[in-house]
Each structure stands twice: as structure tokens, then as C-alpha cells.
Symmetry: C2
Subunit: 212 residues, 2 copies
Amino acid sequence: MIDTKQKLLDTAERLIAEQGYAATSLRHIISEAGVNLAAVHYHFGSKEDLLDQVILQKASSVNTARLTILDRLEKEASGTPLPVSEVLSAFFEPMIEAGTRSPQFVKLMGRMFAEGLLPTIVAKHFRPTFVRFAEALQRSLPFLSEAELFWRLQFMIGAMSHALCAPRAAPEGVLTDTALPDFRPPDFENIVRRLMTFLCGGFQAPPCPEIH
Amino acid sequence: MIDTKQKLLDTAERLIAEQGYAATSLRHIISEAGVNLAAVHYHFGSKEDLLDQVILQKASSVNTARLTILDRLEKEASGTPLPVSEVLSAFFEPMIEAGTRSPQFVKLMGRMFAEGLLPTIVAKHFRPTFVRFAEALQRSLPFLSEAELFWRLQFMIGAMSHALCAPRAAPEGVLTDTALPDFRPPDFENIVRRLMTFLCGGFQAPPCPEIH
DNA sequence: GTCTATACTGAGATAGAC
DNA sequence: GTCTATCTCAGTATAGAC
């Protein structure tokens, strides 16, 4: 078949979103895709590179949208720093839209964060976007030192990561459920909007006194 | 040897803190500990249960200290809700102290979070503590709905998790470095205090309007 | 260039002798 | 309690058919 590669990408995306990366063996993927084991290494080189391509296929459009919105907002503001809420909005609205259209996308991202694969695989796809947003936030929050802003961005990444893979459960289920839920769109949107509110408060907190 | 079990615990803790859980094979652990492979399964049952015991040994004292401080603060306040900053302080100060005394502890915790082992293994050790703190925060923030508070707690967990395993790097290194650093004590304390400031702002943000 | 068959290495787990 | 031997399954590598 000509589309062996695409079949592998699609099957891998589905199975990894359902079961996680570590729990999904190449042999399971190839059996569902109906191709040979060696085809994976022919087309992708390794299991990790297969994942890399799956992520690339899904994440790049979200990041493009983020940068487009941020550029537009900054142009409209013509030099004056954007409010934090607008920068965060440019970052999260494309994610809400992507997640609403395709819950599997959210699940896959959640898996990546949950399994700690962000640093090694996803970072390179997201890094330029994060750097761009970091610069925008630096202008919005001039009273923060670079170090302070750096860490607040780390906190944002962590909060977002965890929220993506957290159980969509009632308060009595705090930290109980480990299964990743199918986020129904309104739930997902609600959670991300709560996150934006939370982050807005966090970013605008007065700077932390330094310790030496 | 009588202390085969303890040697396994100590060696596992060290190697997992250095290399991560997935990257540390049982065969590596037993070779450094000088015991037989089957001893692991005899004493612990599985690799996962070995990790479980390593965590238990290290985390329980921190959680005990957290609950002790929170109890004391609430007793002193005699019924009036505690300020958010004090609740957060009760939660994070014991972690700062543990991390300052033993950087390896922080590194191990960071590994757990980074590899997404929190939900399946660590949650059961931390759950009672989190529930207790959730109740305290509910009293401190009566204007938040249960759902809102639930999610803000999730955001806190995520931010804390990520901060524990984030690179201790200059701002130009955002998301670049994947190696876990040895937190030098003042760095670690600084980061956690920045986190507390950030969370204080986030928790006290006005509630997010619900969407339906 | 594309894909198949098969072998290799290392992982965690287990049964049973001592 | 401990150890040897073995099992199954993972990801990877290669030789060669088409």
C-alpha cells in the first residue's frame, strides 16, 4: 500500500491517545494497521520518532494559530503592552478550539504530559511558540524580573499539563481516578477557562522577594 | 543478608533519582546492591511495588509535618478561616525543609512527576493530605464553588509537579534542558517561594464565569 | 524504494530446587 | 530466604524479496 505511513500515523495516534505511549507496543500498532513491524523503522526509524511525527501532525496548526492571534493583537495595540488576559487568550483559545473539534487531540496531549514525554519530544515543537509568548508577557508584566517570569511560565506549563490529563471528576474524586477521561467539549472549555482565570491571578501577583 | 530489603530500597532510590524510573532496570539495581534478581520479586512483588515502598519511606514524614502545621494553625485561628497564604505555607514549608536537607528527595519526587507516575503510585500516599488541605482552602475561599476550587487544586498540583522537575536554568533556556538538575538548597527554596506567591494570586482570583 | 521474515538483545516476571 | 533457569514480550537491526 502507498499509505502505509499514514495508516501507521493514524493508528499510532488513536492507540497512544487511548492507552498511553509506554503501554502501546509497536506490535499492537502494526497489527491494527495491518502492516509489517519493520515498516515502522523503515518509515520512522524508531518508536520515538513515530510519536514525534504524530505530535507534529497535530500540534503545528495549534501553534500557528496561537502566533497568528498574538501577532494580530500586538499589531492592534500598536506598541502598548497587552493585558495579561489577552496574551493568555491568544495562547489558549486555539487549544480550546482544537480540543472542541477533536477530543482525541486533547487526550493525546494529556498523555504526552502525563508520561513526561514533553521535555524530550514535544518541547522542540512548542519551544518557538513559548519563547514568543514569554516575550509578550515580559512586556505585559514589566515589574517581574526575568527569573520570576521564567518560573511563572514554568508554573503555567505545569498547571496546563496536569489539567489536560486530570480526571474530569467531582470534587470528592480528588486525585483518585487515574483514567484519562473523554473530555466532552463543554467540560474541556470550562476547564481551560478556569485555568486562564487562575493563571491571570498568578501572573499578576506581586513579585516574590528574593532570598540569598 | 538480613538487610537485602533495605539495600534494595536505598539503591533503588539513588538510581531512580539519578536516572528516572523507566530508565533504571531491576538488573542495574540488583547489580549495584549486590543481590539476586529474584530477591526483588520476593521482597516487593514487582518493580512498581519497589518504587511504591521507596516513595512511602520518603514522603510520609513530609505529609505528617504538613498536617501537623495545618492543625496547629487552625487551632490558633480558633474557627476563623485561615488566609490562603498560611494554608499554602503549611503545605510547602515542610517540602522546602525536606528538599533543603536532602536534594535527592526533591530529585526523586521530580522524577515521579516527570514520568507521570503520580496518579498510579504516589496519589495514594498524598491523597489524605490533599483532601485535608482542600477543606482548609474551601474555608479560606468561600466565594469559590467546589468545582472551581477542585480545578484550582489541580492547577496547583500541576504547577508544583512541573516546578520540581523543571530545569534550573536561565530564562534563555526555557524548555530546552531536559536533564534534572541538582537543586542547590537556596535555588530550591527560591523556586518554591515563587510558586507560593504565584499560587496565592491564582487561588484568590475572582471566580471564573461558568459556561453551559 | 517499499516491504517481509526473522533474528538479536534486554526487560520484568515466575517456578522450583536448595 | 535465596538463587538458577527459564518464559514472555518489548524495541531494534538486518538480509533479502519484489
